[in-house]
């Protein structure tokens, strides 16, 4: 079992990439860790705060915990569909860390992808954003230009 600090180090070094915002705008989405007790969770969010994905990282698969976490964080205003949650196993040989870990080591990623196709029908639909200042998640209309949560405005 990895410590959270070690796991975070691995994520920062091997699962960190800058990609295009998924479905919201043309800016870059980057990795941002969320404040979470005893678990490692991060977002890929763009320069305007829109969250493309929320990802849970662990050394075991725990989809139930992740779904409950999302429901706690996002409340009932954002629907968490099972089809939007997907899992992936990262092995030492594909991460390129065989020299540091044994063959049976792995990282489980659980992804929640904010389904833009569903939201695009209605620009007034609610969507998840990450405050550019405090990094907390907040909910507002998809078309909003605001990038700060209520507390940081």
């Amino acid at each position: 079992m990895q410590s959270l600090k070690d796991l975070k180090h691995l994520v920062q070094n091997y699962l960190n990439i800058q990609s295009k915002c998924y479905g919201h705008c043309d800016t870059v989405a980057s990795l941002n860790f969320l404040k979470t007790r005893n678990r490692l969770v991060a977002t890929f969010s763009c320069e305007n705060g829109y969250v493309s994905r929320i990802i849970g990282y662990d050394n075991k698969e725990d989809v139930s915990w992740f779904k409950n976490y999302l429901r706690r964080k996002l409340g009932d205003r954002i629907q968490i569909d099972d089809k939007d949650i997907r899992v992936a196993t990262r092995h030492p040989w594909d991460l390129g860390i065989e020299n540091k870990f044994s063959e049976d080591f792995f990282i489980k990623e659980v992804y929640w992808t904010q389904n833009y196709r569903k939201l695009s029908v209605n620009p007034n639909a609610l969507a998840v954003f990450q405050c550019l200042k405090c990094k907390n998640l907040f909910i507002q209309e998809l078309s909003s230009k605001n990038s700060l949560c209520e507390s940081c405005k």
């Binding site: 990439i17 089809k83 997907r86 899992v87 594909d94 992804y111």
Partner: protein, 113 residues
């Protein structure tokens, strides 16, 4: 690292997916050729989807709308090993992971069999 002899490589993929085509499928076909084993391709948009689902459910990263590509090694003793799932973070990471796999001790040990 791997004592067992490889029997086949199995790839679950879709033609429209940039993580799959050509990023993963082509290198896996080439690797299979190099290792002298067949490479079985399961396009999820064809009738092969049921076989793809079975592989992913039994040995891979299963969810309702599972991530592609997923690559499996089948060994001569009948066992399967999940070796790679595409990286939703970006195609660049999937490409890097495929390269890491090709250069891995795991694959090197299969070449020495």
């Amino acid at each position: 690292m791997q004592n067992k002899k490889l029997k086949a490589i199995h790839v679950v993929y879709a033609n429209w997916c940039p993580h799959c085509m050509p990023t993963t499928v082509e290198p896996m076909k080439k690797l299979a050729l190099e290792l002298g084993v067949p490479c079985y391709l399961y396009d999820i948009d064809t009738d092969l989807v049921s076989k793809a689902d079975e592989l992913v459910k039994k040995y891979g990263d299963w969810s309702d709308d599972y991530i592609i590509p997923q690559v499996f090694f089948e060994f001569e003793d009948g066992t399967f090993k999940h070796v790679l799932t595409g990286y939703s973070e970006g195609v660049e990471l999937t490409r890097k992971a495929v390269n890491n796999l090709l250069n891995s001790e795991l694959v090197k040990s299969l070449k020495n069999k």
